[in-house]
Symmetry: D2
């Protein structure tokens, strides 16, 4: 296993073979994490990174963690497809609603991975209800593949356009997929999900004001978080899902991390080892899924692309615990994992983002 | 309402009429909070406070928040009932298992409030299973009243011995009691409960080591937390409870606070206002229950005796959110609230512990 | 000492004798803390509290910690002196620059305590340089007394107008006053001061964005913090101050608290006990000054009106450590302490805000 | 600059050429960070890692961040030099006092880097005073080179034994070295240093108990921290140091990071640009030193090997701000940086540990 890791980061790649990649929307946390990962990706060269409000500033001035590591400068709004002649792939880390306008203008030789919610939902009505805006590019939507890497690998390899999953959706779907695939779930499923403050984005707001947030825990958007329809859509794709989903989001006083406690009633009794075996089989080729003893802890996945899963069972009452970093496996990391597959690379390339203790 | 508050803290009480109170186990967080409250309680004089390991030390040296506020000194292990001649009431804030030995030796003129789990359970087998020790004072147990103030007021007024509820049990029962009393619950109930680090006590331990804890969120004791049997016992007393309870405890990276997300399927549809009305009626005489718009937040109850409750509903799917300070309403505050009732005082006396923003 | 405390909070006061108090600017953290303290003050009745943007909202809706404790509603901008006929005292917790306009319009029977920086500086040029605005009410300024209670008690008792000290100034001056009064300081003094995030106010901003702030520590406003001139002005009043002051402010990832490490070279050698004795003598009548063994800790003063002072010495190198809660002793608590003196009350009245462990 | 980074992590190295490295003491935070770095180091193969109490356990079970990344198992106490035949280099991350016994037994073909304080001080008396134990290997000490990479590169390249600097010493020396080298400092220097809780190690203790620590800030070990003599020793080596050093350590409520505010009086006036130029020149070949605008922030160096330096000046009053990650540049990262030099590698190899925003 060890040597495997070594290989990931020591592959010799000639300059000529590098993918040329552009980032739309590089000043937020999604963009920040894409930059952190792609700057060291052995097969990538960053062609451009946009950030309207920060255009002209050096990347290392805005993301001060990157000072000394890159000479990149933010450019302004994209100036049309002609500028993409040399580009192989673009990441869209824009506010909801902007990718819709951009994607139809992309030249067909350019692959795209959208980190927003614009193209995740196949049902226009569902989209418009949850995102509170008209959808103007449903014909493009039809080309998109939902980028939950572990359940959609083959489709992703062949895709030109990827709708990267939401952070809550990633944590939840990875915890439910093996059970849903077996049709083992009975009745309603309850997901009690919690996120760190970076989930609210890079702009200061009342709910992320430090004096209060550091001592807070509260629920928000009961039942109606915009990730619910994409979770239901994908569960229907994975298994024979007709169950009720009760989805509740809460705010944690940490910077990074999502933890989902997923309560399921199964069709038959499960011991914890039986459940573990089912998951191990389902994820046997999935390096970034770790099945842990007891409960996972967001501390052990922070800054990494891992999803840690743990279990507790009592007869037919099953609880799956799922922990990810909302900005990595829940956003930028999974996006790069998908890019790797789309260009024939090992999905781990550039994603050996080792966590820390403490 | 304002003048009401004023009255609480301006009651003129002559020295002679003050209750004489002793505290067994004053060095932990339960003891710390009892001291904070009782030092300013207008009807209380503290006779003694024990702390074996700290005996001889000034209280303000151990609880440095209390420096300058009291000359009290910790005494050693209690030296028998003879020393209690002058004492009206004792609080037991001892590790699990120690109250069992002490209570049977108390003179009958002394009332007692036990903050440990020793006397909460009527069923000896349940106790021994969850606390992992033999019970040696079940005959005393029969005299104990369970001290969830809001549901047990009359019994508490007449009690000599109070088993003060567990912190998780308090948050959960206050969120479920109105529904259970109406027999409105169908099927299994799921309680996703989260606690701050002070719930682990005042002694340093691996799970409260700051470098890791500040970035952690994880589940522990799945299904089997020792507060489960007391919750079930009291729900049977409040209503006609035969439901399954799935109870899951998690650790939050805050110092103080419990937040419980309680998932219920009701017998019929409920709107949020209907639910609120049911709760308002049930708690109409309960000053310390606040029904909030949207979700409660532990930030608004920290250091106070309030339990904030909020609701979300979708047809028969009902979620109750319950937030308390684990050391106040979940321990020392509720204990003093019970003492007030046992001695004919207004239950709010000495408990106007106003929270802070931020 | 204990009974002393009891007396503070059990004074019987008839309604008629209560001071009628108004608060201008009740929605920020200064206002929030004034409300927390004054609602329970046995000699105070709150006549009004303004908050332009929140006018019409219930106080407990904005400061959710106060829900259930008051029926007060925020009023709009003050409507002129006629409305103050019945008012004895007003607190001004307004943004810098607004008190200047308001104070000259106050009827002379109304006493006022200004928590902003508008009236702290006797030198108009110093004011205009540090606050970056013209001063329009210097004739009113001449009437103001600087409200550092422990060094200015007699003047405060007789004052109609109080300029309440800045939070950094309070922590620093209380640590330096005894040494300055003795003329014991030689050469330059270095103050390395650190503040919690509530020092930035109740409005969300980039520097208090939780995802970043929780892991941050940094310096800001080197040499030039606006509290420097008030510190120098008061040191000149207390002693014969001609020393250089190097004052450096830093941001801490806590919600509340200021910690100042004050580096002094003294004229002669000092042992730690000698220094302690000097401070004990200087503060012998100052209940809210606690001299601690070793270092103070902001944890033990948070939410209280205490200033904890500790010492370290090596020959003529002396370090004084000063810890306060920036919003209490550094703002609202000291303001109420001053009000108490101005109206002939014990300065501790209503200020027995006991801290917590943890 | 960008391609530079790329080269670091894409160097093709054959298995045969890899350094074989052993770690003594792999269960603490120093060991944890060495493992995180060395597992991905392209030129290193880990031969063994010891941890007495954890012997037999998998590394990924103890450092759960490393689960899935290595099959390494902790071994027990080192079993003598014979086991080191194949080993090129060992890291000693043992409690103070243990390296002293081990180093004299190492075969001469093995290079060693000691992260403890055992071999940093050339003066036996100073060692015994500050570390409170006898030194039993002063003859070995004479062979050690002090491993502050940026000031000692040439000696490090040729060294067999390295005494890796203390975390506070690293932050302080990097901030003072350019000024000391110029002999520009007049009079006493004051260092106000602050550290995160991981500086106390991986074992839970009272001062790192989360419920209290999360709201704490306090000073400790005034004047006498054990890093003081190594700072003074190295300043004498760098320049003509005869100044007084006042060194004060404080505890921050973050997990990782050291921030030092260094107050200097210079021989002549300095503008901030002049100071910056002096530092830029001194560190012109030092990739891991970043000179920032305004103040550094520990948030931007956490988990990285960078030392960020910032400045403020007023005439001859100069303040240097220095920020590092105590476990990386202050321990494991600098140790690997030194190993790289000792074996002829680029000092950046394996140390492109990119920080994160947030």
């Amino acid at each position: 296993m060890k040597s495997d890791i070594g290989n990931m980061n020591t592959k010799l790649e000639t300059r000529n073979s590098k993918l040329r990649v552009g980032i739309y929307g590089g000043s937020g946390y999604g963009g920040s994490e894409l930059l952190r990962i792609l700057l060291l990706h052995p097969n990538v060269e960053i062609s451009f990174v946009t950030a309207n409000e920060q255009a002209g500033k050096r990347v290392g001035e805005v993301h001060r963690n990157l000072a000394g590591l890159t000479d990149l400068v933010f450019s302004g709004a994209p100036d049309g497809p002609s500028s993409l002649t040399d580009v192989d792939c673009v990441f869209l880390a824009l506010p909801h609603g902007q990718a819709m306008a951009l994607v139809p203008t992309l030249p067909t030789h350019v692959k795209a991975i959208d980190l927003s919610g614009d193209f995740r939902l196949r049902d226009q009505q569902e989209f418009e209800k949850h995102y509170n805006r008209a959808h103007t590019a449903m014909s493009s939507q039809a080309e998109f593949v939902y980028g939950l890497t572990e359940t959609n690998r083959e489709a992703i390899r062949n895709a030109r356009l990827i709708a990267n999953p939401g952070c809550f959706a990633t944590a939840t779907l990875l915890g439910l997929a093996p059970l849903a695939a077996k049709g083992a779930i009975n009745g309603r499923v309850i997901v009690d999900a919690k996120t760190g403050s970076s989930g609210s984005g890079a702009k200061a707001a009342a709910n992320t004001h430090h004096p209060q947030r550091m001592n807070s825990f509260y629920a928000y958007k009961p039942f109606n978080h915009q990730h619910v329809p994409e979770i239901e859509q994908e569960l229907r794709a994975i298994g024979d899902w007709t169950n009720e989903l009760v989805f509740m989001t809460h705010s944690l006083p940490v910077s990074r991390g999502i933890f989902a406690s997923i309560y399921v009633e199964t069709n038959s009794d499960f011991s914890e080892p039986q459940l573990r075996e089912m998951f191990a089989e389902f994820y046997r080729d999935s390096f970034f899924i770790r099945l842990v003893e007891g409960s996972p802890d967001i501390n052990w996945v922070k800054t990494t692309n891992f999803c840690d899963l743990g279990f507790a069972t009592r007869g037919r009452s099953v609880v799956v615990f799922s922990a990810i970093d909302n900005l990595v496996k829940g956003a930028a990391g999974q996006a790069v994992q998908n890019m790797n597959l789309m260009f024939g690379l090992d999905e781990k390339t550039g994603l050996m983002l080792v966590g820390t203790n403490p």
